[in-house]
């Protein structure tokens, strides 16, 4: 519990976290406002009049998703970059409890960001849509979509943490995480069969409830696939950090 509080305080006592979340939320709000405000209702509601469009708006989550991935990387690598890892591991010589606390914080901050997203973007999109007299989707559907978004932020932040622990170099880890998530992992979609569904990019689509293409996993399975990736990376990262020397 002490370690969790310590990591939490580390996260919020630098400006980076505030700036990143602020920019991302502002961006999301702008996106929701512009999209719902300017696009024709028919286009948002979809051709058959089903309000899938709003769900698409609600999951227009790209910016925050990238930010949460990067924030996860930063939670791990900032300590190596500035040498504070030494202090941290002096207080927890076994190291893994501190890393476990970091995982907890990554998940927590993902949930916080997700809730902020639901309030800012979701609230704005739904309000605007209703204001314009759009055909509202069922509340249950919206909740499912939003729950998917919250979970995805938490898991992708943990994913970033794992990459950061494995790579350690801050810039290298950010590039690796983004390249893997957004460039490499969508590639297997091009392969025949459903193998692509088991890579993060598709899994997150499933989790958001807006699968592209056929044969995609359901929301829960998508979430589990994503969680499996994150767990594997964090486990590998924890193993490596516990073994390796803390050089600086």
């Amino acid at each position: 519990m002490n370690l969790l509080r310590s990591e939490w305080s580390k996260l919020w006592t630098t400006r980076t976290t505030w700036v990143m979340l602020g920019i991302a939320l502002l961006g999301e709000a702008l996106f929701a406002g512009l999209y719902v405000g300017l696009t024709s209702l028919e286009e948002i509601e979809g051709p058959v009049g089903e309000p899938e469009g709003l769900e698409t708006v609600a999951t227009g989550v790209g910016l925050l998703l990238v930010m949460m991935l990067v924030l996860g990387v930063l939670i791990a690598t900032t300590e190596f970059r500035h040498g504070t890892a030494s202090s941290t591991f002096l207080a927890t010589p076994k190291r893994w409890p501190a890393l476990l606390a970091k995982l907890g914080i990554a998940l927590l901050v993902g949930v916080v960001a997700g809730l902020a997203y639901v309030i800012v973007n979701g609230g704005l999109a739904v309000a605007l849509f209703a204001e314009r007299g759009g055909d509202m989707p069922a509340t249950g559907d919206l909740i499912e979509v939003y729950a998917g978004v919250v979970v995805s932020y938490a898991v992708i932040c943990a994913f970033g943490l794992g990459v950061g622990e494995v790579v350690r170099n801050q810039v290298g880890a950010i590039i690796a995480a983004i390249a893997f998530f957004f460039v490499l992992s969508p590639l297997p979609e091009l392969l025949p069969g459903s193998i692509g569904d088991y890579f993060p990019a598709q899994a997150i689509g499933s989790l958001h409830g807006n699968p592209e293409g056929d044969g995609s996993l359901g929301q829960v399975s998508g979430g589990l696939v994503l969680a499996a990736w994150a767990t594997t990376l964090v486990a590998l990262g924890t193993f490596l950090v516990c073994r390796r020397d803390v050089a600086e």
């Binding site: 504070t84 002096l90 020397d245």
Partner: protein, 298 residues
């Protein structure tokens, strides 16, 4: 049981040997100076004692056990490793807060250590704007946070002004007087010669000497400077003793290996008038450099 002990410690990075079969121990209640030129392996040894790196072979022990087994680490060891290991965007007080929270140390202790290191005024500023001396003080504050039984400080005097050095010396003396174990590294002997009771000297990752400061001082090649009315006769007389004699510029003899009294008695018996008989103690720094240099030659 010594509080800190290094047993046949070796650490290799690829082909580079940072620490080579090093053994020494550090006792409580005194300040131990850990000396060696840059790159001698001081920091590597200290990091091994803190459990931050894994020895290639041998072991580093804290109170008889490997450092990773410490149950209450910040109350056992406080360490100040390098003055740059802070997040530049975090304030000094918040840096201490994260550590205090992690170790379950009451936050009131933060104010105490800030007071001790005289950093209260700057505590809410971001570390980015700190001078090197202020960073050293913050690192020390972090080390003192848990009121640890053992202090490990890596070059804490770097960047301190003369006042700061004096303050640091007093602090270390106080800590040792309170029964704590203090290991403090430096590449300059004069930084620790007024504080340390014990010296551990290493070079190239190997132990050169472990000695008390008193022994080290006494062992310094004491030399006698002699001027006399009849130098050749005196040289001949000294030739019959254990003395080593060198003639410095014709007028002065530099003699070692015999006591001043012996030279005086000898001169009296031969009817030689002594014009000058002075003890020249080689400075500690010279002796230190010589000791370090000898190893290099070997």
């Amino acid at each position: 049981m010594p509080d800190l002990e290094v047993r046949n410690l070796s650490k290799r990075y690829g082909k580079t040997v940072a620490v080579d079969d090093l053994s020494f121990s550090v006792e409580a209640g005194r300040v131990t100076g850990f000396l060696g030129p840059n790159g001698a392996g001081k920091t590597t040894t200290m990091r091994a004692l803190l459990g931050l790196l894994r020895p290639t072979s041998g072991e580093a022990l804290v109170e008889g056990r490997p450092p990773v087994e410490m149950t209450d680490p910040l109350r056992t060891i406080g360490a100040a490793l390098e003055a740059t290991a802070f997040h530049p965007g975090r304030s000094g007080r918040n840096h201490l807060r994260t550590l205090a929270i992690a170790a379950g140390i009451p936050t009131s202790r933060i104010e105490e250590v800030l007071e001790m290191v005289e950093l209260k005024g700057a505590a809410d500023r971001r570390v980015k704007g700190y001078s090197l001396g202020m960073r050293q003080r913050l690192a020390l504050a972090a080390a003192l946070l848990g009121e640890p039984r053992i202090l490990i400080l890596d070059e804490p005097a770097n960047g301190l002004d003369p006042q700061g050095m004096r303050w640091l010396r007093d602090l270390l003396r106080d800590q040792a007087a309170g029964g704590r174990t203090v290991l403090v590294s430096s590449h300059v002997l004069s930084e620790v010669s007024q504080t340390a009771d014990e010296l551990v000297m290493i070079r190239g990752g190997k132990l050169i000497a472990q000695t008390s400061l008193a022994e080290f001082t006494a062992g310094g090649g004491a030399q006698l400077r002699v001027r006399a009315s009849n130098l050749p006769d005196l040289v001949a007389a000294l030739g019959e003793t254990e003395a080593t004699v060198t003639q410095d510029g014709g007028e002065v003899l530099v003699v070692s290996g015999v006591a001043a009294e012996e030279i005086g008695d000898l001169a009296l018996r031969r009817g030689i008038a002594i014009h000058e008989l002075a003890l020249e103690r080689q400075s500690l720094e010279e002796r230190f450099i010589e000791l370090m240099g000898e190893e290099e030659a070997a």
